[in-house]
Subunit: 150 residues, 2 copies
DNA sequence: TGCGATTCAATCGCGCGCGATTTAATTACC
DNA sequence: GGTAATTAAATCGCGCGCGATTGAATCGCA
């Protein structure tokens, strides 16, 4: 990619390539780290949420991850068939499906402990830089998704 | 997502969610902007490269985008069947396939001009901030992909 | 010249993302 | 209480990403 970016629209294209590539790079990194745990990146994100708090609805997971049931249902079925979670209808509201960790799912938390450590290390960034970048992206994402309130 | 991130490994998880979401947000934004052009985000990236310089090999496009033929070949066939590009074997090296813009593909460049403008606008960032963020992500991506030179 | 190694594109299989639709349960309101 | 509107998951279709493999063309080297 050329470095002679000058105008805002070229910068936007440059940023767009950068975000695209950074996403790929993170995906690749997580893929390698998660391979021995038998998890994909999105599956790891779901497990992370469940390790923080168990027994969530599909809806709740979807809100945290920005995903709907069309993505989550198949993903959760894979986690279920891998023995990491259980899925059952909420007796109090049969529309809702509650996701709970199995023992294997809870036990995986300890083995997954090294993942964020390795990621932090691989970025080569200081804690302060990590925090700043994450916050910048978080704000950028807010700005982008507030636009066009469709 | 909680804001009480303190240790580097929690920051890494926080960053990972942020990158994941920022990627989604960009995808979403581009999807809306590109819908009227009949392009997807990766297709737009390919077209952008071809608008900069026409007549590239699949290999070259792949190097620029970090994609291999398993992703590019079907994508390029879609662009071809939409009449935006042509694909032909390089007579000088029959292993290689050259991608060239059709008239419709070249004409689309003018209509696509507003895309990066809208994106720059939607980020709500100044030119300086755009440039800095893009450069940070570019460096992060370099660091991440240089690790483990597999 | 011949033959193994390399390179490039294509193909296969699987797991996301997501717009759109469907089905079932619950809520709101008359 | 009955019906319409809403809500939650599931399903369908398609387009990426990507590890792995295949097949054809080219290169390297004796």
């Amino acid at each position: 990619m050329p470095n002679d970016v000058e105008r805002a629209d070229e910068l936007a294209d440059f940023l767009c390539f950068s975000v695209y590539e950074a996403g790929h790079a993170f995906n690749q990194l997580y893929r390698e780290l998660l391979a021995e745990l038998g998890l994909t990146y999105p599956q790891y994100l779901v497990m992370t949420l469940l390790w923080r708090r168990d027994d969530r609805s599909v809806k709740d997971l979807g809100l945290k991850l920005g995903l709907a049931s069309n993505t989550l249902t198949p993903l959760l079925k894979r986690l279920e068939s891998n023995g990491l979670i259980g899925r059952r209808r909420d007796p109090a509201d049969e529309r809702s499906v509650r996701i709970v960790l199995t023992k294997a799912g809870r036990d995986l938390k300890a083995r997954a402990k090294i993942v964020p450590e390795r990621v932090a290390e691989a970025t080569g960034l200081t804690q302060a830089e990590l925090a700043e970048l994450a916050e910048t992206l978080r704000r950028l994402r807010s700005t982008l998704s507030e636009r066009a309130p469709g």
